[in-house]
Amino acid sequence: MIDRSQIGSRSEVREFEVEKGAIRAFANAIGDDNPLYHDEAYARARGFASLVAPPTFPATFRMPKPPVLESLELRRTLHGEQEFTYTRPIVAGDILRCVNVLTDIYEREGKQGGKMVFFILETRGEDLEGNLVFTSKTTIIYR
């Protein structure tokens, strides 16, 4: 489980094209009627190229997981923490090149005893010019 040699393992690069319909469906699922996510004319009038994506939208970018995470039993796995950072909002029409890296694996004593293993997975999304747009950091807990 604590195979620290897995630290640094990197996924293939995956490209995601951000579509208007995907933004609207995602905002609708959250119940978020912010016009920036639904009304393109409204977003354009505010200087955006098209619809803006909500701050948790990179959740829709399904990335391959490192092999060590694929091997975990799903029912013992928890999504412990999540962070997104942005250099700018994502907008419809963006093509984002994403790659993730398993940046850390460590063990901690659980509150009820027993070991918990923490996996830290970081994803970077760049535009086609190579400018960083967002980063995502996911903490997976295995009990």
Partner: protein, 136 residues
Amino acid sequence: MKWHELRVGQELEPFVKPPIDKVQLVKYAGASGDFNLIHTDEETAKKSGLPGVIAHGMLSMGFLGQMLAQIAGDDGFVSRLQVRFTGMVFPGDVITCKAKVTAKDEDKRTVDFFVAAEKENGQPATVGSATIQFYK
């Protein structure tokens, strides 16, 4: 809200979401591509030792994103959102989102917040911090 309206220590008006229902979980599964059946299928949830289906943690995080984007309005964007998932959320739960200003950086023109998504009993489901980058 405007830059000058936010001051360190300020607690913002809580933002209350309608009760979560199972259709919302199905919609979120479809929109996000998270098809883990513990969120949509009672049988799978129970087999996993849960009392029933549970909401995606990312949905509560999405509610916090909704609140923060409303605070930013046309004057800025959510440049960071970080959370810890601390409790399970079930269909029928009413989530209240809270935010408190923790820092303001005049040079960078950023405002930092403590954020929390709480259940009716005040139990936090999702707790973290966020930054709004105001446009210069």
